[in-house]
């Protein structure tokens, strides 16, 4: 059974915006990030409020970049990592636009793009804002230990990105990157139980979605200039390549991972970045700009998410993961 959607009208990503915290602003992609904040509380009293403010800030900025007003946005599709996705919902409260809250952990960005493309392709909506974000300090508080405890991070761990990204998808597009196909992922679990080793938990999900995508579309890895996974990190990327090699798929030439790109790993990031903000920032800053410059023309974006909670880990469950693939292409079917 095919799990891939083929979009006839090929909705375009007409504008993006990104925002990053101090650490990310000194990373590899610093020059491509639109708004850099020097204070990770963003002038707010709590980190949760800061995360929400970053998200709504970048949504407003993206809509502004798209030269649209808030009234012209038919829907905001957004999600984040906090319990009951409060950052997204509170952003929607502030912006006062129609809102669909979605959650697929760190693959929320590709889920939002997929849903927005389907809405627009079906003719139900014209302009949709897709956004996700995360914050290192809120994630640590929710998933791990208090920040002041200073617990030791194991070497297989990743670092949650403090940042947010928003893409405005529209039915009117012109010569802009278009969403052509998207593959809905299946929840995959190979039995990894170490919540510090997200890359290993998520690599099989990315692999399965890749295989399904190539089977459904009849494309091969060479078709794409870039196969961009979400936040597998260095270790997860190695595992994905190994899984692909075993299956006879060669992604060595064009696969990169957002988690590996975002930091110039020097101290405690170990395997690289993670979090919903990681793929959102990389896609909407560096990759989108490169697509506008025609440096990349065919990008397969596969954000990966680990669908665990602190409760499920404590009850001894392994980590189920998911990955959705969205193909973004230049030079197709312009009207």
């Amino acid at each position: 059974m095919s799990t891939t959607l083929f979009f006839k009208n090929k909705p375009a990503i007409i504008a993006t915006s990104t925002i990053c915290g101090p650490k990310e602003s000194q990373g590899n992609l610093a020059e491509y990030i639109e708004t850099k904040i020097l204070d990770d509380t963003f002038g707010e009293k709590t980190y949760e409020k800061a995360e929400c403010k970053m998200l709504s800030f970048t949504i407003e900025k993206a809509i502004e970049n798209a030269k649209l007003s808030l009234d012209e946005i038919d829907c905001l599709i957004s999600g984040d990592l906090l319990n009951q996705i409060i950052s997204s919902s509170f952003s929607a409260r502030r912006l006062d636009v129609p809102y669909l809250g979605v959650y697929n952990a760190c693959s929320t960005m590709s889920e939002a793009l997929l849903l927005s493309a389907a809405m627009i392709d079906g003719g139900y909506m014209k302009n949709v804002a897709c956004a996700t974000g995360s914050h290192f300090s809120t994630a640590e508080r929710q998933y791990r230990y208090p920040l002041e405890l200073g617990s030791v991070r194991p070497p297989q761990a990743q670092w949650t990105v403090t940042g947010a990204g928003c893409a405005v998808v529209s039915s009117k597009g012109g010569f802009l990157p278009r969403i052509t196909t998207a593959t809905v992922g299946k929840v995959t679990d190979f039995g990894v139980t170490d919540a510090n080793n997200m890359g290993a938990a998520m690599a099989p999900a990315a692999f399965r979605t890749l295989v399904n995508h190539f089977e459904d579309t009849g494309r091969s890895p060479e078709y794409y200039d870039l196969i961009l996974t979400g936040d597998l990190g260095a270790l997860g990327s190695r595992l994905l390549k190994k899984l692909c090699d075993d299956k006879g798929i060669n992604v060595n030439k064009n696969h990169v991972d957002c988690g590996e790109m975002i930091y110039n790993i020097d101290e405690e990031e170990y395997q690289g970045g993670s979090g919903a903000g990681c793929s959102a920032v990389v896609l909407n800053s560096y990759v989108y700009k490169r697509m506008l410059e025609r440096k990349f023309n065919k990008v397969l974006f596969i954000a990966t998410g680990a669908l665990l909670s602190t409760l499920s880990t404590q009850q001894g469950e392994s980590i189920p993961s998911i990955a959705h693939a969205v193909a973004i292409e230049n030079g197709v079917n312009y009207d």
Partner: protein, 151 residues
């Protein structure tokens, strides 16, 4: 359908290529930092003994209180969490680590209010230590009592 949530050969490969904690380095850091904290404690103890003439339970109690005080203070300044990141177990095992485990959630969760945040979450790391500490000491006390009946 893919009901089986396990792939042994994959898991084996994961554990093969996952980076391991550098045990020698961790042990060395824990040893010298933990040892230094204990030396400081011992110095405080001697000082109290010689200058204030304290002895017995009062001496050990006062020493602990001073160490906990220093640990909490350093934690508030954001120094102890840095020591913790460096030394791992070496900063957790001494009593200053216990102070850290109480103070850090109290600081972190004060944004959720004084009752449901600070006060309720204060012992969420130290709670298990207290529970098993009390159970352990009761068990040891019982063994001591029973052994004492025969010898």
């Amino acid at each position: 359908m893919n009901a089986k949530n396990s792939n042994p050969s994959y898991l084996e490969y994961v554990s093969k290529i996952s980076p391991k904690t550098n045990e020698k380095r961790s042990l060395f850091r824990a040893f010298w930092v933990g040892g230094t904290i204990c030396l400081i404690g011992q110095a405080i103890r001697f000082a109290l003994e010689f200058f204030f003439g304290l002895y017995g339970d009062i001496l050990s109690g006062t020493t602990s209180i001073i160490l906990v005080g220093i640990g909490s203070f350093l934690n508030g300044l954001g120094v102890y969490d840095r020591i913790g990141k460096y030394a791992g177990g070496g900063s957790i095992v001494p009593i200053t680590g216990f102070a850290n485990s109480v103070v850090s959630p109290a600081m972190d969760f004060k944004t959720e209010g004084f009752i449901y945040g600070l006060a309720a979450k204060m012992f969420f790391i130290a709670g298990p230590i207290i529970v098993f500490g009390v159970i352990g000491s009761v068990a040891v006390g019982l063994i001591y009592y029973v052994v004492g009946l025969f010898f």
